[in-house]
């Protein structure tokens, strides 16, 4: 096992051992605090171009399986763990984590003080980072390379992860098909269409560059805007598309990146959080019910919207429907006069708690109401 280095933008270097693929890799350093669900994290397209530091000290215990993939590949740019598992133990497991990472060419590092790295990022904010494993560079050379790598702010990444062509996720056997939804894939996780399909929603997943006409051609009951990587400020075309759909009064539901895009479509700014929210234990308060839900988060940007009272937009008034209790960050938006809402977190979970699954029901109810009123017009 040779030495490997985790090199930060600010010149800090953590020495560990090589693990998974060797070579060098760059990305934005983010830490994830989930104690379960590394497979879902690795395969979540939102982690594209990010190097993920797992705070949980043992990773890989349950290996990888064919059932918990959130997309068809591993997306993270690099993977940082303290103690990789020497043995896989789980009845569903098909292969080991390290094998999967090597196969995907993902450079990893092990044996570093992940808590020290986390504290560093927490105090100084997210930054660019590189993993150098089996390379022969000096410390200065490594830092210079990291500083030459791409920044997350201003990055347009959804194009890298979107589906090349439209596909349909049908409702499972025994479930009545009630609605058709057009889902804009900016990095969609499999759990999202699955959650909708279980509720009788047939999901047509469109690539990022789908036109309004293409989407309308399936006569959708609702539009869904998915999660995804990158800076929401770069998503001008998608924001314009969403604005168009807002005027059509077709129910809209956005998750994560989709929420940020809806926020921008409504005229709000988005901004980069110091170190983001990444974990599956985040308390979010539903303003309507005052109830707290424990939720899965994965976001480095957030929407700047007024938390108190209602706000006015060109699409009518609305309000912040959810906030994060840890730091008061806006976690949900809802319009009052049009059927549109979004959440910054992940009701589809995977990984994470299922507390917010009711939001898919809410979307279905919104579509039911909307189609009833459209029916009345017809």
């Amino acid at each position: 096992m040779s030495n490997a280095y985790l090199v930060l933008d600010d010149g800090t270097i953590f020495q560990g051992s090589s693990w998974a693929a060797t070579g060098e890799t760059f990305g934005e350093a983010v830490f994830s605090t989930g104690m379960t669900g590394y497979q879902e994290t690795l395969t979540d397209p939102s982690y594209h171009k990010q190097i993920v530091i797992m705070t949980s000290p043992h990773i890989g215990n349950t290996g990888m399986n064919d059932f918990d993939m959130e997309s068809d590949r591993i997306w993270v740019a690099g993977f940082v763990v303290r103690n990789p598992s020497p043995r896989v133990s789980n009845w569903r497991s098909g292969y080991s984590l390290e094998d999967a990472l090597i196969k995907s060419g993902v450079v990893g590092i092990q044996g570093v003080d992940t808590r020290a790295i986390t504290r560093h990022l927490r105090d100084r904010g997210a930054m660019r980072v590189g993993i150098f494993s089996g390379t022969e560079l000096s410390r200065d050379e490594m830092v210079i390379k990291v500083r030459g790598s791409e920044q997350m702010s201003g990055a347009f990444l959804a194009k890298d992860v979107t589906t090349p062509k439209k596909y349909v996720v049908g409702v499972p056997k025994g479930v009545e098909k009630k609605f058709i939804v057009a889902a804009l894939d900016l990095g969609i996780k499999r759990a999202t269409p699955r959650s909708m399909a279980q509720r009788g929603i047939e999901v047509h997943v469109f690539p990022i560059d789908a036109t309004s006409d293409e989407i309308m051609s399936i006569n959708p009951d609702g539009l869904f805007i998915s999660n995804g990587p990158g800076d929401p400020a770069t998503m001008t075309a998608t924001v314009a598309l969403v604005r168009e759909f807002l005027t059509k009064s077709i129910p809209i539901f956005g998750i994560c990146f989709g929420h940020q895009i809806l926020g921008r479509a409504l005229g709000f700014n988005t901004y980069k959080l110091p170190f983001g929210h990444r974990g599956i234990n985040q308390p979010v308060k539903n303003i309507k019910t005052s109830k707290v839900e424990i939720t899965a988060h994965n976001h480095g940007f957030a929407v700047a919207a007024p938390i108190e009272g209602n706000f006015a937009t060109v699409f009518g008034s609305g309000f912040v429907s959810h906030i994060c209790l840890n730091d008061g960050v806006v976690e949900g938006l809802e319009l009052l006069e049009r059927p549109a809402f979004s959440v910054q977190y992940h009701p589809e979970a995977a990984a994470g708690p299922h507390d917010a699954q009711y939001l898919f029901d809410h979307f279905a109810e919104m579509m039911a109401k909307s189609s009833a009123s459209r029916g009345a017009h017809a």
Binding site: T33, R87, R92, D113, V292, A351
Partner: protein, 1089 residues
């Protein structure tokens, strides 16, 4: 919604004495509850019979009742105090059962109060197995197939349906009492028979076996607005079949994918909602089939539990505190997370470390007991350790249990792989060590998994440790990289030394030369996502340390480690008191301990908490880190019992200052020769004694002293290994055992004083003045370990002259030894002569087990005073500062009786019969209760009710007495007859009683041939209400044993000493004269002032 303003006062029900399955975790939870309630401005009324608890300190409640926890007594308290609400979910099963009994009696309506925390219906839904199964089915979960049975014939037919093996679980018992696995009908009769008796509702559940499945536990909290969080997941390394309390467990769960974990989480939330636990915590246990993931819900506890304490310490999320806040009306999001100070309690802690809990057993105290671990909990304590890897946490936890053989070892001698592979099929206290050795000797992970069902992931981790051990042997030099690697896998310097054929000091020197030391990380609930404001630390060989520098001088307090028989809650009490007193005195207090059940390991108790093993290496590393952080005044080692005392010398040698009584003084008191010289110089007498290092030496000493002799290993607590020996042959056996307990230490041989009163004294000494806090008189005669003997304060039979003699002797010894702080001395006064001679049995220059009892009985906080003396205060200063009375010694108010609680009903022999319940010189009690009243009779009666259940006020008493005890029993027997009791006796006893005009009915001894009822028959058919049986002669004679075990199994009160018999009669007499009176400790203590 904030606090419910209608709640002005709350009665908190405690959990009573420490028993197996219900230990000091409920002191921890009770203390948190009392603190929270008082912070909210609520008047707190408390009932708990256990004087060793912190919660029964008068300053934790407005009215503290040290009274038996019975519905009758609680009703009296409700009548006096009229609380607006009763909180019963923090006092374990005892409090929950008391609450249910109060409900049945209509007490809540009668006294216009209500239960908060969990309502009666929710408790029933959670605890009644049939209702609970219905709930599990309703929410779409699965339970093990099962049948409810109320009789043995029900059980037999149910087992035929379910197929053997079947699991037997009695309803409404704690710690799995009376449960077990039956592989055939005869085992079923045995286990289910006991279960039916132990269940207050005579109900047992038989269910399909899920032996070997993976076992998980989730700690859940819910508020009245239906916000639910999972505080912690715990995975048992020992799969299904071993009680959770007896399993080695790990947090968080390590072998589940998110999908599988979320399934358990969803079920937990659905269950807590459906059961209707409106506010507070509960735990839910699951079994998961390792081959297909099928999940079975095992059970829930609708209350704070032992696991909640573990989860609180493991995560930093204070479950009991939050549960109390929820009970008085708050919601989770309205409560702040103490550790981050910026985020709310409505979240789920996430861990960036691994926690391992290892139980500590006491089978050595019960050599005849079946050592197999089953679904009946048998461990008496536990240690927890934290590390940044499983290996580090596991190895730290194993050395934290402080038991020889617990840490992994790699010596060539020992059982073969084949022998080990056979042994690991049966779970015992030593299974994990056997597994480790089997793997080391070449067994494969798959092989070991097939036999034990321990998850291969854990086995692979152990195999990795074995691999490193081999490398430690093979490496020519320990390079810094390799050294770091093995330390971060948890290897201690001692283990490394053993592997490299050197000693601990040499390895430490090598390590120090490389500058290799652990860093200290923080338990912060959030994996460093937010800044932590609570210095709750653990060590790890990693890179960044988080200990903050400080200006205030620090005092380091060493705790007492895992609870064990002989060293339990009483010592934690003293450590906690020191932390409080020293913090108030302006010092920075630093606690080191590894027992998750305690108040001392609450992050609020001290300014800094280090959750670390109490070994020399680990303690020195904390001292090193704290010394780097700021000034350290020294270490207090005299309060935590034998554990810290045993470290004192090593610490001193390493240059650490020991505050208070010096290690030299400690050694002086332990060294028989030196101590004998002090006695001699002061004109004091000890029973004749000698020291022996071999059998030959021992025989010579015994011959000189003459039999019977009391023999014991030196440097042990709780009479560990102590025996009364009558001949050379038993002496030989003893010497063999003793050298296993403490190798390299001599064996002590004392003359055994037959027929003597034993006296226990607790005193403070500052080098100049003595403060004698209390002189306790044992109720059982000398020969019964002081920890197992009931005692009374003040002494009932000593003359003022004798008391003065005791005081003078105490002062001489304290001065001679050089005590600075607490000293406990045991004396014996011969009964053979009038005003008999005073013998000094032993002196312990440290906090004793009786410190809390004396503190409660006298209102003087001895441990606080002792910690201040250790810092240099004089008794005169403490008197002027009101820590001690302005003049004179401690005065007990009323009469206080301490009674020991014994765990006989937990153990069975391999043949299924009970273990003998006779008292002896080896301590076997797990806890204690206190009864306080105006008279001895009433105080004693209270202590009996609190420890064993009610004394009968009428009915039938069975007496079978040893020759020696027959004559003294005449008068108490006559008193019983006069009170209207019917007596059954065996032949000899009957003869003597009838000669003295006391009538009784003859019962056949079981060993006597013939027709008619035998002694065991009348016990088994519940014809008797009380059994008096003193051991016949010496050794376990079969008749006495049969009587005692039958009584224990039937739950009939049994007394095995004549002194206990006399005390019981005075108790019954007192109770017949008038009902118990109750009075709060605060009122008692007003009487003194």
């Amino acid at each position: 919604m904030p606090k419910d303003q209608a709640i002005e006062s709350v009665l908190v029900i405690g959990s009573g004495p420490i028993v197996i399955g219900q230990a000091c975790e409920f002191d921890y939870s009770g203390v948190q509850a009392c603190r929270v309630l008082r912070e909210e401005g609520i008047r707190v009324i408390l009932i708990n019979s256990n004087p060793a608890t912190i919660m029964t300190d008068p300053e934790f409640a407005d009215a503290t009742y040290i009274e038996p926890i019975t519905p009758e007594i609680i009703e009296k308290i409700l009548e006096i105090e009229k609380p607006s609400a009763v909180l019963a979910t923090l006092g374990g099963q005892t409090a929950l059962n008391a609450a249910m009994a109060l409900h049945e009696r209509g007490a809540f309506e009668k006294f216009n109060t209500k239960l908060i925390g969990a309502n009666v219906e929710a408790i029933k839904r959670g605890e009644d197995r049939e209702i609970f199964k219905g709930i599990v089915a309703k929410i779409g979960g699965e339970s093990a197939l099962s049948r409810i049975c109320h009789s043995m014939s029900d059980c037999i037919s149910a087992a035929d349906e379910l197929n053997y093996p079947v699991v037997v679980r009695p309803s409404f018992t704690m710690g799995g009492l009376g449960s077990g696995i039956a592989f055939n009908q005869s085992e079923l009769e045995l286990i289910a028979g006991a279960g039916l008796r132990h269940s207050p509702t005579n109900e047992v559940l038989l269910e399909e076996s899920i032996l070997g499945w993976k076992e998980y536990e989730l700690e859940v909290m819910r508020d009245h607005r239906d916000n639910v969080v999972i505080v912690c997941s715990i995975e048992n390394i020992d799969p299904m079949g071993v009680h959770t309390g007896d399993s080695i467990t790990v947090a968080p769960a390590l072998t589940l994918t998110d999908v599988e974990y979320q399934k358990l989480r969803d079920l937990s939330i659905e269950i807590i909602r459906e059961v209707g636990v409106d506010t507070g915590g509960c735990n839910i246990q699951f079994a998961v089939n390792p081959t297909n993931g099928r999940v079975i819900v095992i059970e829930m506890n609708p209350r704070v539990s032992r696991s909640s304490a573990l989860a609180s310490k493991a995560t930093g999320f204070p479950i009991a505190k939050i549960a109390t806040k929820l009970a008085v009306g708050y919601t989770l999001d309205e409560i702040q997370n103490d550790i981050t100070k910026s985020t709310p309690a409505s979240f789920e802690p996430t861990l960036d470390y691994i926690v391992v809990k290892v139980p500590r057993f006491a089978f050595e105290k019960f050599p005849e007991a079946d050592p197999r671990l089953t679904t009946t909990m048998k461990s008496v304590g536990e240690a927890m350790a934290i590390g940044r890897s499983f290996g580090e946490a596991l190895q730290k936890a194993l050395r934290s249990v402080e038991k020889k053989g617990a840490s992994f070892s790699w010596v060539k001698e020992g059982e073969s792989r084949e022998e080990l592979l056979t042994k690991i099929g049966i779970p015992t206290e030593w299974r994990l060590q056997q597994v480790q050795r089997a793997l080391w000797l070449g067994a494969t992970i798959d092989e070991v998994h097939a036999i034990t069902k321990i998850d291969p992931w854990f086995l692979a981790q152990i195999a990795m440790i074995n691999g490193l051990a081999n490398e430690i042997v093979a490496e020519p030099v320990l390079t810094p990289e390799f050294f770091t690697k093995i330390k971060s896998s948890g290897f201690s310097d001692i283990q490394i030394a053993a592997l490299r054929g050197t000693n601990e000091l040499a390895i430490r020197a090598e390590r120090n030369a490389l500058g290799l030391k652990p860093v200290f990380k923080t338990v912060d609930t959030c994996a460093a996502e937010f800044e932590a404001h609570t210095p709750y630390h653990y060590s790890s060989y990693d890179t960044e340390t988080e200990v903050l520098s400080r200006a205030k001088p620090a005092v380091i307090i060493l705790g007492s480690g895992p609870n064990r028989i002989g060293q339990g809650l009483e010592f934690d009490y003293s450590c906690v008191h020191a932390a409080f007193a020293l913090r108030d005195a302006g010092y920075e207090t630093v606690m080191i301990n590894c027992n998750p059940e305690t108040v001392s390991t609450d992050y609020d108790t001290s300014d800094r908490l280090y959750f670390e093993p109490l070994t020399l290496e680990d303690v020195l590393e904390v001292i090193r880190a704290e010394t780097a952080a700021g000034p350290v005044l020294g270490v207090i080692a005299q309060l935590g019992g034998q554990t810290p005392l045993g470290l004192a010398r090593g610490l001193l040698d390493a240059g650490v200052k020991i505050l208070g009584t010096s290690p030299d003084a400690i050694d002086l008191a332990e060294d028989r020769g030196e101590f004998g010289r002090i006695l001699q110089e002061n004109g004091l007498t000890a029973p004749k004694y000698g020291l022996a290092r071999s059998y030959e030496e021992a025989v010579a000493v015994a011959a000189e002293i003459s039999y019977p002799v009391l023999v014991r290993p030196s440097f042990v607590l709780g009479g560990r290994g102590m025996e009364i020996v009558y001949d050379d042959e038993s002496l030989r056996g003893f010497i063999q055992k003793a050298t296993e307990i403490t190798p390299n230490q001599p064996v002590l041989i004392d003359r055994f004083l037959d027929d003597a009163i034993e006296i226990d004294v607790d005193a403070l000494f500052d080098g100049n003045e003595l403060f004698l806090a209390g002189t306790m008189e044992h109720i059982e005669e000398a020969g019964v370990h002081s920890g197992d003997s009931a005692c009374v304060l003040p002494s009932m039979s000593l003359s003022p002259q004798k008391l003065a003699e005791v005081r003078a002797a105490t002062e001489k010894i304290a001065r001679g030894v050089g005590v600075r702080g607490l000293i406990n001395i045991q004396f014996a006064i011969s009964r053979a002569e009038k005003d008999g001679a005073l013998y000094v049995l032993e002196a312990n220059p440290r906090a004793s087990r009786t410190v809390p009892f004396v503190s409660k009985a006298t209102g003087i906080q001895l441990a606080k005073a002792a910690s201040l003396i250790a810092m240099g205060k004089t008794i005169a200063e403490l008197r002027s500062e009101n820590f001690l009375p302005s003049a004179g010694d401690g005065i007990a108010v009323g009469v206080s009786v301490k009674e020991a609680v014994l765990p006989w009903n937990r153990f069975r022999r391999t043949d299924g019969m009970g273990v003998d319940s006779v008292l002896g010189p080896e301590m076997r009690s797990t806890g204690e209760v206190m009864g306080i009243a105006e008279t001895f009779g009433e105080a004693y009666a209270k202590s009996q009710v609190a420890s064993f259940g009610a004394l009968p006020l009428s009915g039938t008493v069975f007496l079978s007495l040893s020759e020696r005890d027959k004559a003294p029993s005449v008068e108490p027997a006559r008193a019983l007859v006069n009170l209207g009791f019917t007596l059954y006796t065996t032949a000899g006893t009957q003869k003597l009683l009838s000669e003295n005009g006391v009538a009784s009915t003859l019962v056949r001894k079981n060993s006597e041939p013939g027709e008619g009822l035998s002694a065991v028959d009348i016990i088994n058919t519940s014809m008797v209400d009380l059994v008096i049986n003193t051991p016949l002669g010496r050794g376990t004679r079969h008749d006495g044993w049969l009587i005692r075990t039958a009584s224990v199994q039937r739950g009939i009160p049994i007394i095995t000493t004549i002194a206990g018999f006399k005390a019981a009669v005075s108790g019954i007499t007192a109770l017949r004269a008038h009902d118990f009176s109750v009075k709060s400790l605060q009122k008692w203590q007003k009487l003194v002032k």
